[in-house]
């Protein structure tokens, strides 16, 4: 005689607990997915209207006596935004070309160059600016807000924004000649 003991039936997990667990899991997956998507997104893409940002300028590198630049105030001008750093060796390759281009376009009043100093120290940045004779407005990327908005992958990177505030071209890495810079600016000047 063998007695088979039948286990007492168990309750299932209550539906409200199941719902909360699933909501939590789906939320967690959504956060991970968003992070992955952002990591693979790359820089902001041409065609996108660039939101307003404020760049505080180093003393001696102000624009018309102003120590801050708001991008929205520059509508009507082609804006060349160059991310650089004093510790960045490839940045040195293009520094002279950028300054030369600025010297060419500054008198037209239609183009503005902005240097955004990424994760740098001010004393070293000043040495760099002086070394390459850079005169266009330059300032630090405070709290890396601007570089985070542009989702830069490194330095140097240069963004060409047209008169309507629309991003037209992204140069990742240094320019090798001034003609490369001209080739991007000239079609944007109306």
């Amino acid at each position: 005689m063998t007695e088979t003991s039948i286990p007492a039936p168990r309750r299932g997990v209550p539906i409200w607990v199941q719902i909360i667990i699933w909501v939590f899991l789906v939320g967690l997956l959504a956060i991970v997915a968003m992070g992955l998507q952002r990591a693979q997104q790359g820089t902001v893409q041409p065609g996108q209207v660039i939101d307003n940002f404020t760049l505080s300028l180093f003393s001696g590198y102000e624009m018309d006596g102003k120590s801050e630049i708001h991008l929205e105030d520059l509508r009507g001008k082609v804006v060349v935004i160059n991310f650089w750093a004093s510790w960045c060796k490839p940045c040195e390759q293009e520094a002279a070309e950028l300054q030369q281009a600025w010297t060419e376009y500054e008198p037209t009043g239609q183009v503005l160059f902005l240097g955004v100093d990424y994760v740098d120290t001010e004393p070293e940045a000043r040495v760099y600016l002086k070394k390459f004779g850079i005169t266009y407005p330059n300032g630090p990327d405070l709290a890396t807000r601007i570089s985070q908005y542009f989702r830069i992958k490194g330095v140097p990177e240069t963004y060409f924004v047209d008169q309507d505030g629309v991003l037209q071209y992204v140069q990742v890495g240094p320019f090798t000649s001034i003609d490369q810079i001209r080739a991007q600016i000239d079609p944007l000047i109306k």
Partner: protein
Amino acid sequence: MNKPRRLQITNYRAASHWGKLLLALLTAFAFIFPIQTALAQGPTPTDDEVNRIAKQLYCPVCESTPLDVCPTEACRQWRDLIRTMLAEGKSEEEIQQYFVAQYGARVLAEPPNRLATYLVPAVAILLGAFLLFRGFQMWMKPVTADEDETEQTAKPAQDPYVARLEEELKKQK
């Protein structure tokens, strides 16, 4: 003849007097200025003092490497800046605040000491533990006979086809 000589002697004495005064002032300045500069700058901070602050910071360029051991040029510049600020008499907190203002809170090894930083994870863990506990508790609890019967009797009422089928089966028996 004597007057000019006396005058010369007097002038010499006067010049000597002013010269001594000037020399004394210069000597005083020579001693005071370096001392004042040294007091303003303080002694040169040691590597250990710099690294004590540096290891609490992460450069955004080298995200997973603490600043005190990071070999890049950018990090070397940051350490130099910490040294300069320490020499200027800045406190550890002031230096951290400067770096946060310049490069954002993500440079900190530990998140800023805000209530939400610790409260949100704690609440999430407690809520999760409570849900798991309640879930397992209800899952493991045996169903009582009354409830089982209720479920058994309730089922046919829910499905008329099943009820009819069971009725037919009973008739055949």
